[in-house]
């Protein structure tokens, strides 16, 4: 994993998404094995990602097109 799961982190994050329900709501009718293959990585990723989102401030805009320093010089 990019970052090993840490016990107790969910207490910081708050409520984590129920990816199984979300997958089923999207109409994915999959075997338990296939569903697990989707849900587990998303849950692990969210554990790292969700706390980062909490750091965002309203003035920070998305980088939808990557414009790098020195562009146009």
């Amino acid at each position: 994993m990019d970052r090993a799961p840490q016990a107790g982190r969910s207490a910081i994050v708050g409520v984590m998404k129920n990816w199984t329900s979300i997958a089923q709501a999207h109409g994915l009718t999959l075997s338990a094995r296939e569903l697990d293959r989707i849900v587990q990585p998303l849950a692990a990723l969210e554990e790292t990602f969700r706390p980062l989102v909490k750091q965002l401030t309203p003035d920070l805009e998305p980088d939808l097109e990557l414009h790098l320093a020195g562009e146009g010089e």
């Binding site: 997958a23 999959l30 980062l52 965002l56 920070l60 980088d63 939808l64 020195g70």
Partner: protein, 465 residues
């Protein structure tokens, strides 16, 4: 033999372009059934191009270093009239009516195109165990993965079939096969090389670049393919420079950053030893090695993964719904991406801007970073986990964790071989620099190569000539 040596041989009439192409075709015939590096071989077209190159040499028309040189393309570069599959069933019978800009540039430079290279399905993975066109095998040991997604590109270069192969890199897909196959791999700055005509995986993360046998060959390739392209809306207008390092290039005084965390954690002991050895060699050549604290790389990797999941699934929205068309791993990733909410994608892009601002500060302290490219040598084919530093890791996440974040930042990165493991597999290091500083990375890489950092040729029998 490198591109430079082959170019000298052609001009000295030691061999012809047709002989070079014939030798390459012969090696494809000999090895491709085992290694599965090529999906499509364009032998007839290559020989026509080689004959044309020889005619032009005879008339005194010299197109430069790639004139008459055999090269090949990952099978997601559009080639006019030549099937372009992206390693997928979706594009199994797709024959483009145009060439990708990179292909046009290589043809204009006189390169001889040997064919289209196998890859991970849709470039969405790192094993190149393609379920439709066969699993690419590592020529150093066929029981091990060549890496991916540009696995065929790494193999075709490592086995001396071609002098340069084009790859693409969305989360390490040039640098990982370069590391596992023992070649040089260059991911240029985002926008430095046109993506027009290259099947997208993640629009804002995709980069295209060369895999070669030497750093100077990578520089020659960048000279041939870099530059503004009005057909690519993200193409940079920043002027190109001559990227080829001088023969006696120096790195005296260059400030090399040695990351004090993450990049040197949970490594295979042979990787750590080889990369530390290369850094020591850089220091002995006059570089100044400085410990440097980096922004949160695992966080950056998470951001890059969210962006990729969403963008790749957006691209795939137009693909057929028939789930049997996709390998299980790609299907799972596409499913995951469809579940990522728009808010997460937008917030990942906001975090990306924040992290790039933080990372830009690093370049106030150092000129580049040297890190391992992959934390281990090539894993065994079929392994899904790998044990590193006392913990088991998913092979895909382990293989991408040192390279993925750079795609989100858009910075250039050069992978080069720096040793062999005890089991005889290549080990790769990575030099990362600020945007548009490819020339610096190539100079550092060339100085290290000149200074003895590297590996012997792949032991697969024979050479091109």
């Amino acid at each position: 033999m490198t591109i430079r040596e082959a170019a000298e041989g052609l001009r000295a009439h030691r061999f012809s372009a047709v002989e070079l192409a014939t030798a390459a075709i012969s090696r494809i015939d000999r090895h491709n059934s085992n290694l599965r590096a090529f999906i499509t071989v364009t032998a007839g077209q290559a020989l026509d191009q080689a004959r044309q190159a020889d005619r032009e040499f005879a008339m005194g028309n010299d197109r430069g270093p790639f004139h008459g040189i055999p090269v090949a393309l990952k099978d997601l570069f559009a080639t006019k009239g030549v099937r372009t599959t992206a390693g997928s069933k979706v594009y199994e019978n797709f024959v483009p009516e145009i060439n990708a800009t990179v292909v046009e540039k290589l043809l204009a430079a006189g390169a001889v195109l040997l064919g289209k290279l196998n890859m991970h399905e849709l470039a969405y993975g790192i094993t190149s165990a393609n379920p439709h066109f066969g699993a690419v095998r590592n020529p150093w040991n066929p029981r091990h993965s060549p890496g991916g997604s540009s696995g065929g590109s790494g193999v075709a270069v490592a086995t001396n079939i071609v002098f340069m192969a084009m790859g693409s890199d969305t989360g390490g897909s040039i640098r990982i096969p370069a590391s596992f196959c023992g070649t040089v791999g260059l991911k240029p700055t985002y926008g430095r090389v046109s993506r027009f005509g290259v099947l997208p995986l993640g629009f804002s993360l995709d980069h295209v670049g060369p895999l070669t046998r030497s750093v100077r060959d990578a520089a020659l390739a960048l000279n041939a393919i870099a530059g503004h392209d009005p057909l690519d809306p993200t193409s940079s207008r920043r002027p190109v420079v001559d990227y080829v390092p001088d023969e006696d290039c120096s790195i005296r005084g260059v400030r090399i950053g040695f990351p004090d965390s993450f990049f040197f954690e949970h490594l295979h002991e042979d990787v750590e030893s080889a990369v530390r050895g290369a850094i020591a060699r850089a220091e002995s050549l006059g570089a100044v090695v400085k410990p440097v604290r980096l922004p949160d790389i695992p966080a950056l990797n998470a951001v890059a993964r969210i962006v990729l999941l969403a963008e790749a699934s957006a691209v795939a929205e137009t693909y057929p719904d028939d789930r049997s068309l996709y390998g299980a791993d790609v299907r799972a990733l596409l499913d995951q991406g469809r579940l990522v909410p728009a808010t997460d994608y937008i917030n990942a892009q906001r975090l990306r801007r924040k992290m790039r601002r933080e990372f830009d500060q690093v370049w106030q302290q150092v000129d580049c970073l040297i890190t391992p490219a992959t934390p281990s040598p090539a894993p065994r084919v079929g392994d899904t986990t790998i044990r590193l530093g006392g913990r088991d890791e998913d092979v895909r996440l382990a293989s991408t964790r040192l390279v993925r974040g750079v795609n989100a930042l858009g910075y250039p990165a050069l992978s080069l071989p720096c040793g062999l493991s005890a089991s005889g597999l290549p080990l790769g290091m990575q030099i990362i620099g600020p945007a548009f500083e490819e020339a610096l990375l190539l100079r550092i890489g060339a100085a290290l190569e000149d200074g003895g950092v590297g590996i012997p040729p792949c032991p697969i029998e024979g050479s091109v000539l």
